[in-house]
Amino acid sequence: MNIQTTNRLTTAESALLDAYNAQIGDLPGDGAVLSVRDRLLDELKTGGLPTRRIESWHYTDLRALLRAVPAVQPAPSLSAVKPLVSGASVLTLRQGAADAATAPEGVTVRRYADSLVDGTAAEGLREASADDAIGRINGSFVRDGLVLEIADGAELAAPLEIQSLHGAGQVHTRFPVRFGAGSKATVIERHRGEGDEAALVSSISALTLGDGAEVTWIVLQEQGAADTHLGQIRVELGADAKLRLFVVNAGGKLVRQELRITVSGEGSELTLRGVNLLGGDTHTDVTLVLDHNVPHTNSTEIIRNVIFDRARGVFQGMIRVAQAAQKTDAKMACNTLLLSDDADFSVKPELEIFADDVLCGHGATVADIDRNHMYYMMTRGVPEKTARAMLVYAFVAQIVEELEEESLVEALEGIISAWLDRHA
């Protein structure tokens, strides 16, 4: 238990340092930004990538799992994909660089690269906490992304879809988004890798919801089979704000999705739904840290996992309720269908409660498909394979249906059935 951690760098760690050194002078940023970058990289160098000895990385030993880091490569030709919902305004990034874009009414769009150059990005570039390895990697290497401002009271008629498309190489993006007071919007954040060669992707979205804003934010991760995806969503909820956060993982070889949510406005409400489709020889980790800091807030979280083949899944969900946050109502559930004996799933739902007048609970289940359900279907003449497929589909589709917007539900269900057809 007391093995000395050596300072010897792993292949991936040295590759990251080399990549940084190779890009010195080329990474955008003013003095303030560059000094934050230097510090983050320095911490990465001295601390190394996180291991299982860091509690929040207990089940995802990044140091061991991230074997190699692909070299930075120029963008291959990438053509935009059809948006999830027709009529959506699409903002495209190719290999981590934003295309010139026209914003729909009520939205201001700016390239993140510009905010690095003028230094306005410096403040937000810092890591979120001591164990924020994704923040360090992304903060060191990020070149571009989008800064979005949704005006006070603006109601977007159609969803906004951010498409981050890439081939092999490295992609580091950031999306600071500010939803004005009383605004209403649906945003889809889509990550998509092309080709069979590996890419290392890090992406941080920092959402700030003004008072009374109502937002649906959907993360759709469809990375390539060899890709590493290190995603992070930081959220700050204002008073009476409502956020529906949907995270769908349907790709990637090594995935970590961190959700760091701070509920700091009274009367606000968070609805988190997650669907994780895991197959092949992959590792997917969804880690939630939810802080209820003020009284009278609600949150519900439901995560559904379907695991095939030799895949390994992780869900860590920590709900913290501060002493001031009386009348918090927080409920979390994590349900997993473990469909192969070579697969495994680890779950750690944590509660850390300092206020007494609260209702907090969590539930977690891991099991195969219920035999009674199978029996019910089969006695009605449904063949075993079809019955299984239907039950697995229903297990995750149930979550998606909560979205209500029909076109969105249909699109996501389409993606889920296509994935299940490939893996079941």
């Binding site: 007391n2 007494d356 007048d357």
Partner: protein, 489 residues
């Protein structure tokens, strides 16, 4: 409502930091010099007249311990312990192997009388309705007396202090000691392996149902001593034993260390029921003093169809760091964990269980009830692990926390790891306060507020209390009410 009334009376009588068992007894003791070294270990081993292999075992553990670092992952905080400022051996002088109770120092007997521990066999026999309980009384570093030895012997049950067992049954001890908690297991278990001074040894042979409840009563009396006890219980094929431990310590301003190791081995079709009522001195209202209770308890369901059940009522100790676990190795074996952890004042509890499912059709059940009051912190930390070969394994976990007041904390940290698709794991946890609705319901039926709260708390922990042997269930219930006094209403 006489029962409720009684509870409330009990609560009224005793103030929160009027720890009932806080008295100190002047008894002449034989002590090893302060500090820890190979010489001290040799001293302990020699005092116990241990064979050479035992000394070697201790020294090996000690050398290993020197290379280890203190664990810091638990949600507890305390100033660094100076391991060289502790007496590792303290024994009442007069107890050099008394043959009967008459030879035991009367001062010592008085201590147990005061604690309400029956040491005189006839006294217990005289009580018509009371069932028989065999007691091993451990005072600081040594076992002073073990009752009902003869009667147990007739049934084939070996019940004695571990020091005696090392001398009289070396083969059994050698075979099982350290087989569940290896000397290398963790910081405190390794320290315990090096310096353990006494504890109980139980061997229930094949097919025997132990004719009475066995119990060990631990008492720390001497200042600046650490208590390092070691308990080893073996239930051979088809055997059954129910065992209970209780503990108290005097009220002092300094913190005292208690680092025990308990190992249980259940062979085919055997069953061990282990209950703890832990009531070490918790410190005063300001958080001064109290016992550091850093304990490693583990049961090994080694045989098929075996069963181990842990029941604990934790109300004492300044800091508790304790995870009674089950290794479910045998096919169809079963592990159970029932816990009530009550923290008040400045107490810190980080406790839970581990259920490691290795065999087919193994099942486990975890019921944990945490109650926090005052400025205490109460953490449930548990692990359920279904290994690749654990086909059709089942687990059900329920941990509920109750907060009384807004200056305390309740935390739940479960780890669930599943590697077999036929395994089924269910986990649920809730945290809340006593709901106004529940209170209202009781009060509008004429029950005063304080009684209503006592009633609800009793209901909250009932599931666990039911698992305790009858005599102790009553005691445990009283204890809970006492330790919550000053926080309700």
């Amino acid at each position: 409502m006489p029962a409720v009334q009684e509870t409330v009376e009990q609560v009224r009588q005793i103030d929160v930091d009027q720890y009932k068992y806080g008295f100190e007894t002047e008894i002449e003791v034989d002590k090893a010099p302060k500090g820890l070294s190979e010489d001290i270990i040799r001293f302990i081993s020699e005092k116990k007249q241990e064979p050479e292999w035992m000394l070697e075992w201790r020294l090996e553990a000690y050398r290993r311990w020197l290379t280890l670092e203190e664990p810091t992952w638990a949600r507890v905080s305390y100033p660094k312990i100076d391991f060289n400022d502790i007496y590792y051996y303290a024994a009442p002088k007069s107890t050099a192997g008394p043959k009967s109770l008459d030879e035991v120092d009367p001062e010592l007997l008085k201590v147990y009388e005061k604690l309400g521990i029956p040491l005189r066999e006839q006294e217990i026999l005289a009580g018509v309705e009371k069932s028989k309980i065999a007691v091993d009384a451990v005072f600081d570093s040594v076992s002073v007396v073990t009752t009902f030895k003869e009667e147990l012997k007739k049934a084939g049950v070996i019940f004695m202090s571990i020091s005696e067992a090392i001398r009289e049954h070396p083969d059994l001890v050698k075979q099982y000691l350290g087989s569940v908690v290896p000397t290398t297991d963790n910081y405190y278990a390794t320290l315990n392996s090096a310096v353990f001074t006494d504890g109980s040894f139980v061997y229930v042979p094949k097919g025997v149902r132990c004719p009475m409840e066995l119990s060990t009563y631990f008492r720390i009396n001497e200042k600046n001593t650490g208590q390092f006890e070691r308990t080893l219980i073996i239930a051979a094929e088809g055997a059954f034993v129910s065992y209970l431990e209780g503990c108290t310590a005097p009220q002092r301003d300094e913190n005292q260390l208690h680092a025990a190791v308990v190992e249980l081995v259940a062979l085919d079709d055997a069953e061990i029921k282990y209950s703890t009522v832990q009531n070490w001195y918790p410190g005063d209202k300001q958080g001064k003093g109290g016992i550091y209770n850093f304990v490693t308890k583990r049961g090994d369901c080694r045989g098929a169809n075996s069963k181990i059940s842990w029941t604990q009522v934790e109300t004492g100790s300044a800091i508790t760091w304790k995870y009674p676990s089950c290794i479910l190795r045998g096919d169809n074996s079963r592990g159970e964990f029932y816990s009530i952890a009550v923290s008040n004042g400045h107490q810190q509890i980080d406790s839970g269980t581990k259920m490691i499912h290795l065999g087919k059709n193994t099942s486990s059940r975890i019921i944990s009830k945490g109650i926090s009051a005052g400025v205490s912190n109460n953490t449930y930390r548990g692990q359920v692990s279904m290994h690749r070969k654990a086909e059709n394994a089942r687990n059900f976990t329920n941990c509920d926390s109750l907060l009384i007041g807004d200056t305390c904390g309740a935390h739940t940290v479960p780890y669930i790891e599943v590697k077999n698709s036929t395994a089924k794991v269910e986990h649920e946890a809730t945290t809340s306060k006593i709901s106004e609705d529940q209170k209202f319901y009781a009060m509008q039926r004429g029950i005063p507020e304080e009684e209503a709260i006592a009633l609800i708390v009793n209901g909250f922990v009932r599931e666990v209390i039911q698992e305790l042997p009858m005599e102790f269930a009553v005691e445990a219930q009283k204890l809970i009410n006492i330790s919550l006094e000053g926080s309700v209403g």
